[in-house]
């Protein structure tokens, strides 16, 4: 029972990290039809910015410096995403293949630049001491960092859903995911929505980058790559354009991955691919897919 709970909460924590990567990918694709291969780079930029805050700006890690690192990582990645959207994506309006290729390029360049600058070795991310502790639930001993991932992802999920539901730009984004050209035909400049979605997606990925650095014991220029793949899988399973779909799929995949790794010794990734195939075969638009481009 205690093992079960440990694996469950580890899976949910992992799912929380997947969600931070996938939510932006899903919104960007849902609204603009852009497969953003640079999303892994957003994550890495967030991680390096967070590392800089946690080592150079505030060398003694506390809860507050860690929160500052997450926010700074989110903002840096969000601004980078915004810049990429303005300078590159915008100029290739509606040329989806070119846009995807360019994001691949941006991802490679960011990785190479960071590797040239910092080297490829992983650096440990300093955290407040209480991150190393564990809480006891019944007989289970659960490392406390799991709860941090879950808590931060929940806050961002609520924030994103609130923006989508209660603001005008959120209304425009929801409508744009359904039918972009009709939004313009109502006299609305959809590009403002594009920029918003890139910033929000970049922000979530940047915060995710900081947390992932803690989870995987290190910051490295290459860290974005494998998480990007998982991000895409979550988006496909959850449905393009749906934040709630991403959240559900991220949990599903995080939890099954952990259980399969434990009970089927190391077959976690394999089981994730099975889920992906099953969803693609039975419900190609994903669990809560909204897009019909």
């Amino acid at each position: 029972m205690s093992t079960f709970l440990l694996i469950l909460l580890t899976g949910v924590g992992l799912g929380a990290l997947y969600f931070l990567v996938a939510s932006g990918l899903s919104l960007i694709y849902g609204l603009m039809g852009v497969l953003n291969f640079a999303h892994g780079a957003f994550l890495t930029i967030g991680a390096f910015t967070g590392l800089w805050i946690s080592t150079k700006v505030f060398p003694n890690p506390t809860t507050w410096t860690f929160i500052a690192a997450m926010i700074a990582g989110g903002i840096a990645a969000g601004l980078f995403a915004l810049l990429m959207e303005q300078l590159v994506i915008n100029r290739l309006y509606n040329r989806h293949i070119d846009q995807a290729l360019v994001t691949v390029g941006v991802g490679l360049v960011v990785t190479a630049l960071l590797a040239g600058w910092f080297g490829s070795d992983a650096r440990l991310f300093p955290t407040p001491l209480w991150f190393m502790k564990a809480v006891t639930i019944g007989e289970a001993i659960i490392p406390i960092d799991r709860f941090v991932y879950i808590g931060v992802a929940t806050i961002l999920l609520i924030a994103m859903l609130s923006i989508l539901r209660f603001t005008r730009i959120g209304l425009i984004i929801r409508a744009g995911v359904e039918n972009r050209s009709m939004v313009s035909a109502l006299g609305i400049n959809v590009r403002l929505a594009f920029s918003t979605v890139f910033f929000i997606g970049g922000f979530a990925a940047g915060v995710g980058g900081v947390l992932i650095s803690v989870f995987s014991y290190g910051v490295s220029p290459q860290m974005g790559g494998s998480w990007l793949i998982y991000g895409f899988i979550v988006v496909v399973v959850g449905g393009m354009g749906s934040i709630t779909g991403s959240a559900i799929a991220a949990m599903l995949i995080g939890v099954t991955n952990q259980f399969a790794n434990y009970y089927l010794t190391g077959l976690g990734d394999f089981v994730v691919v099975i889920i992906l195939a099953a969803v693609l075969l039975t419900k190609p638009s994903g669990l809560l897919g909204k897009v019909n481009h």
Binding site: A175, N179, S181, A185, G187
Partner: protein
């Protein structure tokens, strides 16, 4: 200034040359009906005017060239559009659909709800769950919320039950009284009731411009539109 002047408009989609030099004029404060058989390019023409299909040639709206302008700017100049297949946002509520469309500082909700009282009782219903007729009301309401200089309307009564056709027709007749409108409509009774001009297209070109009295002429209707005049 709300007239619309289309000159030598060409549209090519996926390699097929769909509009082949369309010319016509929509005068101010009058209703002009764009007619023609299925597939002759009526909707393509309206989309080109809205900037939704990339066209070449000239489209002047109140004297301003709009042919290469982005759609949202054209609309902001005062053009309201009711698309052929309604294109309401299915996952948004009726209220959200309307507030998305509202551009004016004081959108005219009174007009919309007095023309379509049914919508008032369904403000928080998702538009995707509305009946076809109710969806059409939302589509028309979106265009009527703002003070537009011209309304561009594509087959507003398509697929509606006769009772709803009357309701939509009455709403359009009400607005038609005091605005410029370019409307594509198969229902000739409605065209006769509201239009002051008719334009007929065939195979990507305009083949006739004149008054609606021509629609009384059975042979004209048969040869131009391929339907009989009494047809509703």
């Amino acid at each position: 200034m709300s007239s619309l002047e289309v000159k030598d408009l060409h549209v090519t989609i996926n390699g097929s040359h769909i509009l082949q030099g369309v010319n016509f004029f929509v005068p101010e404060n009058k209703v002009t009906a764009l007619l023609g058989r299925n597939g002759v390019g009526k909707s393509t023409t309206l989309k080109a005017i809205m900037g939704l299909n990339p066209g070449t040639g000239s489209i002047k709206f109140g004297g301003t060239e709009i042919v290469a302008m982005p759609t949202h700017k054209i609309v902001q100049m005062g053009m309201g559009y009711v698309p052929e297949d309604r294109e309401i946002f299915a996952s948004l509520t009726v209220k959200e659909n309307l507030s998305l469309a509202a551009r004016d500082a004081e959108p005219n909700y009174d007009l919309v709800y007095s023309l379509f009282p049914e919508l008032l009782t369904r403000t928080s219903q998702r538009a995707g769950t509305l009946s076809g007729g109710q969806q059409q009301m939302v589509a028309i309401a979106r265009a009527l919320l703002n003070q537009n200089k011209i309304l561009v309307v594509d087959e507003p009564t398509k697929g509606l039950a006769p009772k709803l056709v009357t309701e939509v027709a009455n709403a359009l007749a009400h607005v038609a009284d005091h605005s410029t409108m370019l409307i594509v409509e198969q229902n000739l009774a409605l065209v006769k009731a509201i239009a002051q001009n008719i334009i007929v297209m065939d195979q990507g070109k305009v083949v006739f411009e004149g008054g609606p009295e021509n629609l009384q002429d059975e042979t004209f209707v048969k040869s131009m539109l391929g339907v009989s005049g009494g047809h509703k």
